[in-house]
């Protein structure tokens, strides 16, 4: 099983996402923004960071990268894709997921250990969790306030496409406490918190994030 991890100029958490893939015994494959070739990977992670500095709008420039055309195409055929933080922003900008991220309501960068509730354990990236499980994972972002039109929010809620919800504190003012959502087919997931920083209690608040990477293994095997 090969998990591709994209690096854009300004990507920061690519090595962490690769490490997370290795922790679940997947082969981590580095993908380069300017190279449209996905090198035969079975799943793709669009990691966090500040692609192109996020100066225009988080994810606005990265979504035009050659590699993203291939990701959009592969996602269309059902390849599991996970967007973390800046990756989530890029997936929204690329139209793979609905909605957009705005500046945090508090106007500050926020880094904290965050409780999340698993609202949907049927996606390619959440099947290893129990429905309703609460997990603790770091969240760290400047532009993390998930926003969408009321119609889109109603649709997401109606179809059970909210995958993760903030519990206790809503760190950035996201609509409906949404931390992560999925595509209609459950193969694409985007979330603001960072499961790749919660794979080992030595360097994170827990290893609760591993479940997402294990889920992808299952999704690929059973696909």
């Amino acid at each position: 099983m090969k998990i591709g991890v994209i690096t854009f100029p300004g990507t920061l958490d690519d090595t962490d996402a690769q490490r997370a893939a290795r922790y679940v015994d997947a082969e981590a494959v580095a993908l380069w923004h300017a190279d449209a070739d996905l090198h035969g990977v079975d799943a793709v992670i669009v990691p966090g960071g500040f692609s192109y500095g996020d100066y225009l709008r988080a994810g606005a420039i990265a979504r035009f990268a050659p590699v993203m055309r291939s990701v959009v195409e592969a996602a269309g055929k059902g390849m599991p894709v996970l967007g973390i933080c800046n990756g989530f922003q890029i997936l929204c900008e690329a139209g793979l997921l609905p909605g957009a991220m705005l500046r945090n309501a508090g106007l500050h960068f926020v880094c904290r250990d965050q409780w999340l509730r698993v609202e949907n354990n049927t996606t390619a990236w959440s099947s290893r969790y129990e429905q309703g499980a609460e997990i603790i994972v770091p969240v760290k972002n400047m532009d993390g306030r998930y926003t969408a039109s009321q119609a889109t929010l109603d649709e997401l809620e109606g179809e059970g496409r909210v995958v993760f919800r903030y519990v206790g504190v809503n760190p950035n003012g996201s609509c409906n406490d949404i931390a992560g959502i999925t595509s209609a087919n459950g193969r694409i997931v985007g979330l603001m918190p960072h499961p790749e920083h919660a794979i080992d209690a030595l360097t994170g608040p827990s290893d609760d994030g591993l479940g997402m990477f294990y889920s992808a293994l299952d999704a690929v095997v059973t696909a």
Binding site: L56, A60, C92, A100, L102, A105, T147, S149
Partner: protein, 79 residues
């Protein structure tokens, strides 16, 4: 060469905490009578003369603004 200005603003229904922070601070600093502040982005582009309005509209819509959350206005100004 022409100068083009693009103003990008959060849609009215979208909460604008930056603008709100300014609006809330003004009375504390003794400035009264400002009832609303909204904050967006202002771009100034120098463009070759053969860049037409359709292209500019496309740049604004697909790139400078995100139509999900923002409105935008493109105008040519005298340099």
């Amino acid at each position: 060469m022409a100068r083009v200005v693009v103003d990008v603003m959060p849609k009215p229904e979208i909460l604008d905490p930056q603008g709100q922070a300014v609006a809330n601070a003004l009375p504390r600093l003794g400035f009264e009578g400002i009832t609303s502040v909204r904050q967006g982005k202002h771009f100034e582009l120098e463009v070759a003369d053969d860049v037409d309005d359709a292209t500019l509209a496309k740049i604004a819509e697909t790139f400078l603004a995100n139509p999900v959350i923002e409105d935008w206005v493109v105008r040519r100004v005298d340099a």
